[in-house]
């Protein structure tokens, strides 16, 4: 096993070197570069040089197109160019701990709090949240429509043993679902509990075909046309809050703070709230900025 692992490691290393050689615009993949932007010891030679900073964030903000809607506005106003590294929440936080990013925009409250507690981050703000829905067939065999709490709805599904499709792929949504089951003190198992091991789109499709329930994020659900209905929403455990945090060891506190202010003050918040309205008929993210 060791050999396989080391072989993989070697392969990855080779790939990384290749990447580093090819692109100088990816600071995360090029640790050997002479002056990585974060640890830049050389002072900026003149004011005319463009200021830049690194934002580490999750793939969801990038893939949904939110950053493409916000960052150009910020860059134009402030003259600071923002380099985005879109990775999983865990990795984004790691980048912050290592000082390889200036600001984090992530969604894992527990990990964020730890990050601040350990002294890696300062100036943590809530920025916005998006929602999860429990969706299912219109006939609603478990009768969960209108149930207020996600926990209760899931318990009803389990009790009736109505088919429920789970992502089962250890993604953020999957973790969310598992945490609700845990809250309800239920271990879902049996033939009614279907673990698809696939992405959100495929899982929704499967739920539609099988007239089953599933837990989905809002954006993916709205982007598909399916015969599934939103049955439970708005419960606190179905909210997915995003936080923005400044990295304490950042060499660009000024620029970082400017970005945080942009996201949490009026203009940025308005842009966040409007994002997606054109395409989906309603905003994908709900702005709710406040300092923690």
């Amino acid at each position: 096993m060791k050999t396989i692992q080391s072989m993989i490691a070697l392969f990855c290393l080779a790939l990384l070197l290749l990447l580093a050689a090819c692109s100088s615009s990816q600071p995360a993949a090029a640790p050997e570069q002479s002056n990585p932007p974060t640890a830049a010891p050389a002072p900026t030679p003149s004011a005319s040089e463009k200021k830049e900073m690194i934002l580490a964030t999750t793939t969801s903000t990038q893939d949904s197109g939110l950053l493409d809607a916000l960052l150009p506005v910020f860059e134009q106003q402030s003259g600071i160019s923002v380099k985005v590294i879109a990775v999983g929440t865990g990795q984004a936080i790691k980048l912050g701990e290592e000082g390889n990013a200036d600001v984090l925009l992530v969604h894992s409250r527990k990990a964020e709090d730890e990050f601040v507690e350990k002294g890696f981050g300062i100036n943590a703000y809530d920025v916005m949240y998006n929602q999860f829905y429990i969706v299912g067939p219109a006939e609603d065999p478990a009768g969960i429509k209108g149930v207020q709490s996600a926990k209760e709805a899931m318990a009803k599904i389990a009790e009736k043993q109505s088919p429920f499709v789970s992502r089962g792929d250890d993604s953020g949504t999957d973790k969310k679902e598992k945490s609700i089951w845990k809250e309800a003190a239920i271990t879902p198992e049996g033939s009614w509990y279907i673990s698809s091991g696939q992405g959100m789109g495929e899982t929704l499709q499967m739920a539609d075909e099988m007239r089953a329930y599933t837990l989905t994020d809002e954006a993916t659900f709205l982007s598909r046309k399916l015969n599934l209905e939103v049955l439970v929403q708005g419960d606190k455990s179905l909210l997915n809050p995003y936080g923005i945090i400044q990295v304490k060891s950042s060499t660009k506190p000024e620029e970082g703070m400017q970005l945080i202010r942009f996201f949490t003050e009026e203009q940025g918040q308005k842009l966040i709230g409007e994002f997606g309205k054109e395409t989906y008929g309603k905003g994908l993210f709900v702005p709710d900025a406040k300092q923690r």
């Binding site: 096993m1 396989i4 692992q5 993989i8 089962g168 792929d169 250890d170 033939s191 279907i194 673990s195 698809s196 091991g197 696939q198 495929e202 499967m206 539609d208 075909e209 099988m210 007239r211």
Partner: protein
């Protein structure tokens, strides 16, 4: 690593593949034999079609079978989507042309020598066909091996119509995809090696058998 879940996945892979190839043999070998023996109008088109279908893209087969079996499709009432049966249907579509095509070539290679002899001995058409198939079995078996290899290593179609459901339709190839996507490269690689070993074992048995038979024939 060899937990019960893994065995379950391997076992389902073997079941689905074996049943598919068996059904494919029942349909493909007689078709291939007939095509190898007889000429008729439009045979060229049929042969061209079979050769084309030997290289059918699995995902395409997957999408078509999906649409047929979908709740909103023509066969939706059967409720077969996301079941092992759906996977078998897709696999049969994939392997039957391979079996038919390779049987046809094998039969054609033997045809002249045996056709006349069998006929002069007064064999009925059915008897003649059986004789020819027996004579061409070396080529036919390698067709079976090719079909088996294709079916067991196929991933696109079984992912689409099976859905990779745990304990239900998760087979080796789809499990490898899941393991890789969740970052368990080691587990993915291990399963891949099991897959390779199985293919190798199966093919060696098959080829060893074929070679032995050919040898004993010659003596």
């Amino acid at each position: 690593m060899m937990t019960q879940d893994v065995w379950e996945v391997i076992w389902l892979s073997l079941q689905v593949t074996t049943v598919s190839v068996a059904i494919g043999m029942l349909a493909g070998i007689p078709t291939g034999t007939l095509l190898g023996l007889y000429s008729f109008r439009g045979k060229r088109i049929v042969v061209a079609l079979i050769y084309t279908c030997m290289g059918l893209p699995p995902v395409l087969v997957g999408v078509v079978v999906y649409l047929l079996l979908s709740r909103y499709g023509p066969l939706g009432a059967l409720g077969l989507l996301f079941t092992p049966e759906a996977m078998i249907i897709a696999q049969v579509v994939l392997v039957t042309p391979i079996l038919a095509g390779l049987t046809m070539s094998a039969v054609q290679a033997k045809e002249r020598t045996y056709w006349e002899t069998a006929k002069s001995l007064g064999a009925s058409p059915v008897q003649m066909m059986i004789t020819i198939v027996r004579e061409a079995r070396g080529g036919i078996w390698s067709g079976v091996a090719a079909a088996y290899g294709r079916a067991i290593s196929e991933v696109g179609a079984v992912m689409l119509v099976g859905g990779n459901i745990e304990h239900h339709t998760r087979v080796m190839t789809t499990a490898i995809i899941l393991e890789t996507r969740t970052g368990n490269f080691t587990a993915g690689l291990q399963l891949g090696l099991v897959l390779l070993a199985l293919s190798f074992l199966f093919n060696s048995f098959l080829m060893a058998g074929v070679l032995n038979q050919m040898k004993s024939r010659r003596r």
